[in-house]
């Protein structure tokens, strides 16, 4: 039985081949994992600052928040627009379009394969973090861990759909990846990667809640760190963003493919 062009065998082959492919690039992926250290730099600034008391994250809660933010970011990194742009430019997209499988699934599998390759490096960085800050060590409960995992996957889904939306604009414009750069800037500042949302002035915070960004880092990170969060509101907002983005991506994709004329054709 096929659901969205997928069955168990296709899933296994896709994931297996993409994982093997990503393992070839493990040195590169390790460096990407290392280049995500910004939350730790911000942690060192926040922990010594006068403004710390306003965060509502006392003692080790702040360390745990920023480690969780790092981990959530590692498993929700999305680069589909760059991969897609290259495939469209080099004409690799044409054979993908002929296959009885939505090409986006291929990119989903590539991202999952990359996350699996990233796992040991991210775990190593977490171990180093706990070696430096042993008092911050914690293990989430099984339930908490599963919820955090789900929230991270939902964050990945939102980021993936959002970037796929930008990627489908490649069918119309060559400047699509510039758009990705522009949306990355508010993401960095509003997602909670550099400062927990509780640090924001109330007005900015209320306004940020209406963007998808806080649900990409702040919400999953708080779940993972075991902070008290409104689970229903958080997951509800994540689901709502997926429900908005998914049909948009599919519609734009169909319109785009109709416009697509392969390179060199």
């Amino acid at each position: 039985m096929r659901i969205f062009g997928l069955n168990r065998r296709i899933i296994r082959v896709l994931l297996g081949s993409q994982y093997a492919h990503m393992l070839e690039y493990r040195a590169e992926i390790a460096l990407w994992a290392l280049s995500g250290v910004l939350p730790f730099i911000m942690l060192s600034i926040w922990s010594g600052s006068d403004a710390r008391s306003g965060l509502g994250l006392d003692g080790v809660a702040l360390d745990r928040y920023f480690l969780s933010a790092y981990l959530v970011r590692q498993f929700s990194v999305v680069w589909v627009v760059y991969a897609f742009e290259e495939d469209a430019l080099l004409g690799r997209l044409s054979p993908y379009l002929l296959q009885p499988l939505h090409p986006l699934w291929r990119y989903v599998a590539a991202h999952l394969g990359e996350q699996l390759t990233r796992l040991p490096f991210a775990a190593l960085i977490a171990v180093v973090f706990f070696a430096v800050q042993p008092q911050a060590f914690w293990l989430p409960s099984l339930g908490g861990f599963l919820l955090a995992w789900l929230a991270t996957w939902m964050a990945f889904a939102i980021a993936f759909l959002f970037q796929s939306l930008i990627a489908t604009l490649c069918f119309w414009s060559e400047k699509a990846s510039a758009l990705e750069r522009l949306q990355f800037i508010p993401f960095v500042f509003l997602s909670g990667l550099l400062a927990p949302l509780t640090a924001f002035p109330p007005a900015v915070r209320a306004w940020a809640q209406w963007t998808p960004f806080p649900y990409l880092i702040d919400f999953p990170a708080r779940v993972l760190a075991g902070q008290p969060v409104d689970l229903i509101a958080g997951f509800g907002a994540q689901l709502a963003w997926i429900a908005v983005l998914l049909p948009l991506v599919l519609l734009l994709w169909r319109a785009g493919v109709r416009r697509y004329s392969a390179m060199g054709a």
Binding site: S35, L38, S44, D50, G54, K175, V188, A195
Partner: protein
């Protein structure tokens, strides 16, 4: 020497001519710079409330550090990223052969071949922020301080270039680690904040191992009249050491270059 100067003028005028073909990029770049600078200022403002300081630095003083960081970031996107980012492509595709065969120093060619004017507005905004912060912090600009700051900026630029070049040069061995400079960039982001805002262990790291301190904090201290001659000499010394290291490492690395597909 004159030959190098003439070559450099040719390099940069052709780079400018190429960039003028893509005028929309300048607009996008301008928007990106404006957005990320306002984001950085917003983030910085989160650390300041009534009588709060960041590592003993006032808001105006921290703005000076932020401005200096923006200047160096602009320098990286104008000069370092377009040039040094291409080294790995040359290694992978074997076009480094052509560079090595040219009757001109290969490090000179690789380091100064092109220029991306899209980063210039960032340098301008950074300088403006530095000037505004200095004015607010009550800096009295005298000729000696101005000269000292310029020397420190040059030293900082040289340190940044040498670090970046050192890492880019390792691509002679490890072609696959082309993104190693991304790690450097992430760590350089620590230069956005005054050194005193960090815990002591990181302060040592950012002064000696990865001398980000000499890029932003020390020049700001010079302007504020808080850095003495020893600090200046240390900065200059580090710049010379890092440049010499980058130069000898490049000559060493070339002995291992075997060209592509051989």
């Amino acid at each position: 020497m004159g030959r190098y100067w003439r070559t450099l003028r040719r390099f940069w005028s052709t780079a400018l001519a190429v960039q003028l073909e893509y005028q929309a990029n300048v607009l996008i770049e301008l928007l990106a710079v404006a957005m990320s600078l306002s984001g950085s200022l917003f983030l910085l403002s989160l650390f300041y409330g009534p009588d709060q300081t960041l590592g003993g630095w006032s808001w105006a003083q921290a703005l000076m550090v932020q401005g200096l960081y923006t200047v160096f970031d602009g320098m990286a996107s104008t000069w370092l990223r377009p040039n040094l980012g291409a080294i790995v492509t040359h290694v992978r595709e074997g076009t480094l052969d052509f560079v090595l065969l040219k009757p001109i120093d290969s490090q000179f060619w690789l380091s100064l071949r092109t220029l991306s004017p899209a980063g210039l507005p960032e340098i301008g905004l950074g300088l403006a922020l530095l000037a505004w912060g200095s004015l607010q912090a009550g800096v009295v600009l005298t000729l000696p301080t101005l000269l000292m700051v310029l020397v420190m900026l040059l030293a900082g630029g040289l340190i940044l270039y040498s670090l970046w070049f050192l890492i880019a040069a390792t691509s002679i061995w490890f072609v696959k680690t082309w993104n190693a400079t991304e790690v450097l960039r992430a760590l350089l982001a620590s230069g956005r904040y005054p050194l005193n805002a960090y815990p002591p262990a990181l302060r040592l790291l950012f002064t000696v191992v990865l001398p980000v301190a000499f890029l932003t904090t020390v020049p700001a201290q010079v302007l504020l009249g808080a850095a003495g001659a020893p600090m200046l000499l240390a900065g200059l010394g580090l710049a010379v050491v890092f440049f010499a290291a980058a130069r000898s490492f490049w000559l060493f690395a070339l002995r291992f270059y075997t060209s592509a597909s051989s």
